[in-house]
């Protein structure tokens, strides 16, 4: 049995527009912040995992070393869609678990402000001669002609599919908008969120429609940001100071899954099955169940996505996501607060940073350091990300005993 791994230090930069900072400025700020939070230096780190999606071929990890410390340690540059940050963290955790290092650093960084609509390419002018190309022998662009490739559109269908499978008497548009209303309300307490304005239901529903039922504020915000974490083995932690041990957060489960084949999964991405599998594996590994959770940060890349993950993560009875939401449970004063950070819809979604930033949020509450937005008495938390394609990361974190 591999020994336990702990998060010793963790930080995130402010998410938002950072026109004066490049990728390395953001990555350095997060990495040095995590090292300082951990009370260690680059010299203590035995492995580095660096996540970045938009420049996935740029060896961001080595670039970062060249700014903050070239110590010769192994570097893994990872890219795994929107699960990149969680994958980087898990890479460092696996390395520590395998005994190759007793301390590791994971960084996720993205410059995404102004990136606009993700998914789908600009449609070029049709060719002068129809010629079948690619795996479906298309003679012309299919995005927009055979469904949509855009992220808001794909995730809108994922939410609508849930409404089809679990018919709801109420107005679906309003339901999804209310989920967004919750997250925007939560964001007002998070100084590191990209957007911290409370939005009324009317404002959210009346905003620009992107892909029904997702209006603009119901979509995650493309922005810049970075997050980083230092992980340490149980045996190494015991040699560190009382203060370091007190603030350390136990990684009770670190799970990564991909999408297993299901009928229709190559027609509309199936973000459900791999999340369910990851959650089941994580609960088993941690020896806890959803009823033991005090706090959840889940991948609300769109309001329509948050709903399905209540069910996928087992936060509600099977098929009961709408009732769970309507009960008020996922509000910060509810039974099981979800996305008290403001979620991706307000905090922002600098892709590779997201899967570490959500863990930072959980750690903050477990340590009792979340300030104005502290949820009292948090002992067990879960962080979830989904990268379309697909990859799912689930981490369960627990307060030091």
């Amino acid at each position: 049995m591999a020994e336990d791994v702990w998060i010793l230090g963790i930080t995130m930069t402010k998410f938002g527009k950072h026109p004066d900072k490049d990728t390395m400025d953001l990555a350095s700020e997060a990495a040095r912040g995590a090292l300082a939070d951990a009370g260690v230096t680059m010299k203590d780190i035995g492995v580095l995992a660096a996540g970045n999606l938009m420049a996935a071929n740029a060896s961001v990890g080595q670039q970062l070393q060249k700014q903050i410390g070239q110590t010769g340690i192994p570097v893994y540059n990872v890219a795994n869609a929107c699960a990149t940050g969680a994958t980087a963290l898990r890479t460092a955790i696996m390395s520590v678990k395998a005994g190759e290092a007793d301390m590791g650093l994971a960084v996720g960084v993205e410059k995404l402000a102004g990136a606009g609509l993700l998914g789908g390419a600009n449609r070029a002018k049709d060719a002068d001669t129809w010629e079948p190309k690619g795996r479906v022998g298309a003679v012309a662009a299919v995005d927009g002609r055979i469904g949509t490739e855009t992220m808001p559109g794909v995730f809108a269908q994922i939410g609508m599919q849930y409404m089809h499978e679990h018919p709801y008497e109420g107005a679906e548009f309003e339901l999804f908008a209310k989920i967004s209303e919750k997250n925007h309300a939560h964001s007002t307490l998070n100084p590191l969120a990209a957007y911290t304005k409370k939005m009324s239901l009317e404002q959210i529903m009346g905003d620009v429609m992107i892909a029904y039922p997702n209006t603009r504020p119901m979509c995650s915000a493309n922005c810049d940001g970075a997050a980083a974490a230092v992980v340490v083995s149980d045996s190494k932690l015991r040699t560190l100071s009382q203060e370091q041990q007190r603030r350390a957060v136990k990684v009770s489960a670190s799970v990564l899954t991909s999408d297993p084949w299901q009928e229709a999964c190559q027609v509309l991405p199936d973000v459900n099955t791999l999340t369910r599998n990851a959650a089941a594996t994580a609960y088993e590994a941690a020896g806890v169940g959803p009823e033991d959770l005090d706090l959840v940060e889940l991948h609300d890349c769109f309001a329509t996505a948050e709903l399905v993950h209540y069910d996928n993560l087992g936060l509600c009875e099977p098929g009961g996501a709408v009732d769970f939401f309507n009960s008020g449970a996922p509000w910060r004063d509810g039974r099981l607060p979800v996305n008290v950070s403001g979620g991706l819809q307000s905090k922002g979604h600098p892709i590779a940073a997201t899967g570490i930033a959500n863990i930072w949020e959980i750690c903050h509450h477990l340590r009792g350091e979340a300030g104005d937005r502290q949820i009292e008495g948090v002992r067990v938390g879960l962080a979830h990300v989904i990268g379309l394609g697909s990859a799912c990361g689930v981490h369960i974190l627990e307060k030091a005993a």
Partner: protein
């Protein structure tokens, strides 16, 4: 008459336009793209099967913002054609939430997309609400 060409090779034109899928002979999994092997069971033997043209809307969105060059709004959907899921647009009705419903019965339809320099007409497909809906 320079003839027609389907937008994608899994659209079969002619008197009874329909979609065809590659079905794994071992496990029955269906695919629309050129295959290396079956994603479900790893099998490499496939047969071509005709996908029913009638179906039911299982999920949809009304895309109001798309990449430049793509006309909006349009309805993108997943249609369950008697057990085979198909991606396609809902056409022949206004793209508003009032006109498209989950569970709505639809039927495959084809329409011209454009004519190339040689006079060949490309033909696309979509799903249109069945009558008496």
């Amino acid at each position: 008459m320079a003839g027609e060409i389907p937008l994608v090779d899994y659209l079969v034109l002619g008197d009874e336009p329909h979609l065809r899928a590659s079905e794994c002979t071992a496990c029955g999994a269906r695919f629309f793209d050129r295959r290396n092997a079956c994603a479900s069971c790893g099998g490499t033997d496939f047969r071509e099967v005709r996908v029913p043209t009638d179906g039911e809307v299982r999920a949809f969105t009304i895309v109001s913002l798309a990449a430049p060059g793509i006309p909006v709004p349009f309805v993108a959907a997943v249609v369950d054609c008697d057990g085979t899921s198909v991606r396609g647009n809902i056409v022949g009705t206004e793209p508003t939430p009032e006109n498209v419903r989950l569970g709505m019965k639809v039927r495959l339809t084809t329409f011209p997309i454009g004519v190339d320099g040689a006079g060949t007409e490309a033909v696309g497909f979509g799903f249109t609400p069945q009558e008496a809906n």
